[in-house]
């Protein structure tokens, strides 16, 4: 076989090696009691997306600092190796709880949870299927994105000068539709005549990492009259912030406070406290209080909210803020009901 050896084979082997690159976070498990480590698998976009995944990572870091729980993460990147990443973490003796970040994990985590009944699992943005029983060792964490989106929609409608606002979604899916629908209802609640221009980047998960296309959508919406655009598109949202800078218009971030991406051009961000959810779940796990089933975080328990701090205070007048607080109370008390579709 060595007769046919080409240097290129080494290159190809190296290729395979590199394309499987996985990043393990903290691998200092030695000396720690077995079964008390947390594992986490990232969503598309991965670590450093300045949004969803980073929020989850923040939760892990907090757990490490305050609870002394070590963690290990896998960044699977593209493709369908999510299930094997989950299995890899679940099969390690020292890991007691495994997180899947993102609705894409729903089916995979169901399978793995059945395979490892003595381990605990948690899935952020779990998409609940009423027809299916959730295994008792899964904590299915849901956020009421529609409530937070309703609030930023109302805010956009109060601030807009052109009477037209925009929305950019990543992948066309029921989860992102929840954002869009809540946002539109919020806009219409303030001003039924206000136009909402909507656009989706793609019908595949690639829609969450195509900032070039998102920028084009944003530029189109801005030039068609929208002056504030809200996005729920993960990494693609960076394209929106570029467009906002270029067009000198406003944008609304998602998942985490995205003010830093385009200071002065980010009106606010609809935040989901993914970090807190991760932290709380680990805490419950550590104190042996872990329970399976659906856990919903909404406005009431500060699971979703919009950012209002010293950075964006000058963009949001005080009367607008008080109006929003009033709406928030109405949502919590049930005076305003928001449809999810």
């Amino acid at each position: 076989m060595f007769k046919h050896f080409h240097p290129a084979y080494i290159f190809l082997l190296f290729t395979i090696f590199l394309s499987c690159n996985k990043k393990n976070g903290n691998d200092e498990s030695a000396g720690k009691p077995a079964g008390l480590k947390a594992g986490l698998v990232f969503d598309i976009g991965g670590r450093g997306d300045k949004s969803f995944n980073d929020a989850a990572y923040k939760g892990l870091e907090k757990a490490k600092q305050e609870l002394g729980i070590d963690f290990e993460v896998i960044d699977p990147g593209d493709g369908s190796d999510r299930e094997s990443a989950l299995r890899k973490l679940a099969s390690k003796k020292e890991i007691g709880i495994v997180f899947g970040v993102g609705f894409i994990f729903t089916d995979d985590i169901n399978n793995i949870a059945k395979e490892f009944p003595d381990k605990k699992f948690a899935c952020i943005d779990y998409s609940v299927n009423p027809a299916k029983q959730i295994p008792s060792n899964i904590s299915a964490i849901e956020f009421k994105e529609e409530e937070g989106s309703f609030l930023v929609g109302a805010l956009a409608a109060l601030i807009t000068k052109t009477n037209s606002v925009g929305f950019i979604g990543g992948m066309e899916s029921s989860l992102i539709r929840k954002f869009e629908s809540g946002y539109i209802q919020g806009v219409k609640y303030i001003n039924p005549d206000c136009k909402v221009l909507s656009g989706y980047v793609s019908v595949t998960p690639d829609g969450f990492k195509n900032p070039g296309k998102a920028k084009e959508i944003a530029l189109s919406q801005y030039s068609n009259g929208a002056d504030i655009i809200y996005h729920a598109s993960g990494l693609s949202g960076l394209g929106l912030f570029e467009a906002a800078r270029e067009s000198n218009k406003l944008s609304i971030g998602v998942d985490m406070d995205q003010f830093k991406e385009a200071p002065g051009f980010v009106l606010t961000s609809m935040v989901k406290v993914v970090d807190e959810a991760v932290f709380q779940t680990i805490k419950e796990f550590k104190e042996n209080k872990f329970t399976g089933g659906i856990k919903t975080f909404g406005l009431k328990d500060k699971g979703v909210d919009f950012v209002y701090d010293s950075n964006n205070m000058k963009l949001i007048p005080a009367d607008v803020k008080s109006k929003l607080d009033e709406i928030r109370n109405k949502i919590i008390s049930g005076a305003i009901t928001i449809k999810t579709e």
Partner: protein, 302 residues
Amino acid sequence: MDLISSILSITFLTQVFRMMTPYYFGANGANFSERGGVINISIEGFMNLSAFSFAMFGIISGNIFFSLLIAITINLIFSILFSWFTVKLKINQIIAGVGFNLFIAGLTKFLLMLIFGSSSNTHRFEGISDIDIFKKIPIIGGIVSDPLTLFCILLVFVSNFILYKTRFGLRLRSAGENPEAADTLGVRVRQYKFYGIMLSGILSALGGIWLASNQNSYSEGMIAGRGYIALAAMIIGKWKPVNIFFACLMFSAFEALEITLQISGTNIPTQLIQMLPYLITILVLIGFIGKTRPPAADGEAY
């Protein structure tokens, strides 16, 4: 009415040309390689690599011109490597192409983590700035003020001239059509294949650079299949620089149309519009729309 007026607007036209730019750089690059008889499906990877190196050196050095040169040079090195594998060592061109795509995807992600501590994106940097004087030109001002888009349009004529009016073009084409005959006439076939691949490396580099510059950062997977769309455009354009240009315009026009349709809130499903260019690609390949003939010795090692 609202929809028609927004499609006929200058903004729409500018957007079409803007989105065409990376496609044409990729497609035209791939064409030079295929004209020399080497199928180069690693355009996607080449664009990815140059986008990354442009952003990385742009951030580190702060000098756009320098990072532009470095990004092109790095791509040149990779394309020489690619030609060494495919022309000299005669490795299957498709497999080598896939290998390069995977290798570069892994390499960029690995370096991202290493240098920027993020598996998804770099910091922000200032990309190539527009030429302000050109902005005042009516109608096409928004198009030609982007230096790379302007270069892209000029490239249509330049590549057409190179392929059909120069000795280099004739020899390159002969290497892709009938290498044996060319060889007997004294053309250094392998050398010309090398040149073709190197040109594809340089041109696809510009495509990646445009994307990173337009985004003012690099993010993992930002090429998002544009390299493959470029290959489809090359096929629709029947391996002719001018036709390829119009094929790229068609792809970007459909994409812009999809965006505009979504905004206008019509009931036409956007997925249908998204699908159309690919349908046309298949129809072209089957032979419904004119005769398609790739270079005769395309994909064969010599």
